[in-house]
Amino acid sequence: MKTLVVGLGNPILTDDGVGVKAAFEIEAQLSEEERQSIAITEASVGGLRLMELMIGYERVILIDAIQHTNGYKHPTGTIFTLSADDLRNISPTQHSASAHDTSLITALEMAKRIGMPIPREISIYAVEVENILEFNDQPTPAVAAAIPKVTAMVLEELRLSPKSSG
């Protein structure tokens, strides 16, 4: 199954780069054979541009930083696995208030509406982060410790027989 792994975030903004760092780690651990069907990339984009990156892939795995803001504090470094449906539920799905773009979910809906081949499977790995306001190319210790864990989780998913590979 043609797969894309995207590490999202800003690699020089302390914990924000956790997804990018994990993506590089995953790339280093893939075999030559695996690289034939799995593409790895990094990006600090969202909405339309992220959707556009996904076009033509059957499966997409996103790795990103997350910060819960609903008052319930999760320990830094906690790894969450989410589906696109989860994203739809926690995200304001159809709101135009974003300052320069639209949400990923809206962008994917749009792609579907105009007949573009969006991925059948999207899974998201999100690492709870602490510091995303300071420029630094090193993450905080708890986030650094989560990188090998999230790397292993993504590799495991990549190496399992795809659920819907029919």
Partner: protein
């Protein structure tokens, strides 16, 4: 005193918050836009080789990496005192025109157009690009994506990478244009022109064809009589890549025209205790508080301001629309210059005229016989010390200023980003919109929130709501508090 907070919950580049303070009568006393400071950029940069800056600064924000890359590259030209070959300037401008075509397109169709096509009071669930597709047709969605796709291809070819370009070098550009590439870019440029003309027609049909919208655009709620900034060429026509920075006064007369390197002589920064972000103003006029008019040094740097600061557009079709813009909005011409349009919502129209200009300029460059010249580097022979580079980012004049030791290691870095220029005007616009909409006894509803948002959305601010964060949206929350900070009422859109 009551306090209303419009709080986009998402984080990072986009985490801005609007606070509205009510007086004891329940009328708006003050309104602020607050953006958390991203700390330590200068410390991060100092000690690194200056030539890394175009690649580092394009990481600052996911919205306009191309603009940072270009301002950084131009700052390196100045730092190393090296004049790039003529073809390099053309390739850079070609790349930059493609970037403008994508950026202005997404702002209009994802953010500006929904307010007019769905309506400012329309249901938020429809007030987005999906709603636009629903109303205008599936074909428009396809066109938006096709426009972005072809221009991203050009950005990738010329920039060396799709998202965070790497091609800029002091005195050069690491990619030469092949004839094969040139031919494709020429086709793309023609398609961009058609798309820009289509978009302008759509604006005319949907917005100008509806008197209620014209009234809204021209209403006092969305007007500020400020100074205007923009980069112009030798004919005082808009140029995004290079030129002198021109500032015109609220009546339309040229106030000052200067080289980017002299920006500190003309621009000063005001500090407020409630904001990390500074408020640039014109030194020659002075800071008089959040007020407009001839005596206030507040200026604006947006598509609207670029039109106002210029005498016209450098390409023929964009020039026709430039004239139509001023004639339609009731501006009189004196001494060959139109009086400025102060209506902030007209920025959406100005943005489309700039889209057409970018497309036309792209075609000019793609058909320039020199564009395939392979000599894309001027050797460096001097010792670096200090350099300033600036470009027009889609959302305002962007300036990079670097100082180094004799080995080119950075000792000092200053950036004035597009949105910062507009910090004071945005603050004024939010306050004015809030004052017009919230008075004693008003029940704050979603439509009101959206109209206040419209006041700052037209600036296309680059506190862009964490383009890559989860959940990747900007939900709004309004909290009304009494003087003790107790929450009296809470109204939210789309918060988990």
């Amino acid at each position: 005193m009551k306090r209303i907070t419009i709080d986009p919950i998402t984080r990072l580049e986009g985490h801005g918050k609007i606070e509205i303070f009510l007086d004891d009568e329940g009328n708006v006393d003050n309104a602020y836009l607050q953006i958390p400071e991203l700390r330590g950029f200068e410390q991060f940069s100092v000690g690194r080789p200056a030539e890394e800056m175009p690649r580092i600064t394009n990481r600052i924000c996911g919205v306009c990496p191309e603009a940072h890359h270009m301002a950084g590259t131009k700052a390196l030209d100045a730092l190393f005192q090296v004049e790039p070959p003529s073809v390099v300037k053309k390739i850079r401008e070609l790349f930059y025109s493609a970037f403008y075509c994508t950026d202005h397109t997404v702002h209009f169709y994802a953010l500006g157009a929904p307010d007019f096509i769905i309506g400012p009071e329309g249901p938020p669930a429809e007030r987005n690009i999906l709603g636009v597709i629903h109303k205008v047709g599936v074909d428009i969605g396809k066109q938006v994506i096709a426009c972005r796709k072809r221009n991203h291809e050009v950005i990738q070819w010329l920039g060396g990478r799709g998202i965070h370009p790497v091609a800029g070098l002091p005195g050069g550009w690491s990619v030469a244009v092949t004839e094969e590439m040139r031919k494709e870019i020429e086709v793309f440029a023609r398609q961009n022109i058609d798309f820009a003309l289509f978009s302008l027609q759509l604006f005319e049909d949907v917005v100008l064809g509806n008197q209620a919208y014209v009234d809204l655009i021209l209403s006092d709620t969305f007007a500020h009589s400020t100074y205007y900034m923009g980069t112009v060429d030798e004919n005082n026509h808009i140029n995004f890549y290079d030129g002198k920075i021109r500032v015109t006064d609220p009546e339309g007369k040229e106030f000052v025209k200067y080289d980017a390197k002299d920006y500190t002589q003309h621009i000063a920064e005001h500090v407020e205790p409630w904001s990390y972000l500074k408020f640039p103003y014109l030194k020659g006029v002075g800071w008089k508080g959040f007020t407009d008019g001839m005596d206030s040094g507040i200026y604006c740097a947006t598509p609207l301001s670029r039109l106002n600061a210029a005498d016209g557009m450098a390409t023929p079709q964009a020039q026709e629309f430039f004239e139509k813009f001023y004639e339609t909005l009731g501006s009189k011409k004196t001494n060959g210059r139109y009086a400025p349009v102060h209506a902030r919502l007209a920025t959406h129209w100005a943005r489309l005229i700039e889209l057409l200009y970018a497309a036309e300029r792209m075609l000019e460059l793609a058909t320039d016989p020199e564009i395939t010249d392979p000599k894309v580097r001027t050797p460096i022979t001097t010792t670096p010390k200090e350099g300033v580079g600036s470009v027009e980012a889609p959302r305002g004049t962007l300036t990079h200023h670097y100082q180094t030791d004799e080995k080119g290691i950075l000792t000092k870095v200053n950036l004035v980003v597009g949105t910062t220029n507009n910090n004071a005007p945005i603050t004024m616009s939010i306050k004015k919109a809030a004052q017009g909409l919230i008075t004693k006894g008003t029940e704050v509803r979603e439509g009101i929130l959206n109209t206040i948002e419209m006041a700052f959305r037209n600036y296309d601010p680059c506190m862009s709501c964490a383009t890559h964060s989860l959940p990747g949206q900007m939900p709004l929350e309004v909290i009304i508090r009494d003087t003790n900070g107790e929450v009296l009422d809470r109204l939210s859109q789309f918060i988990e």
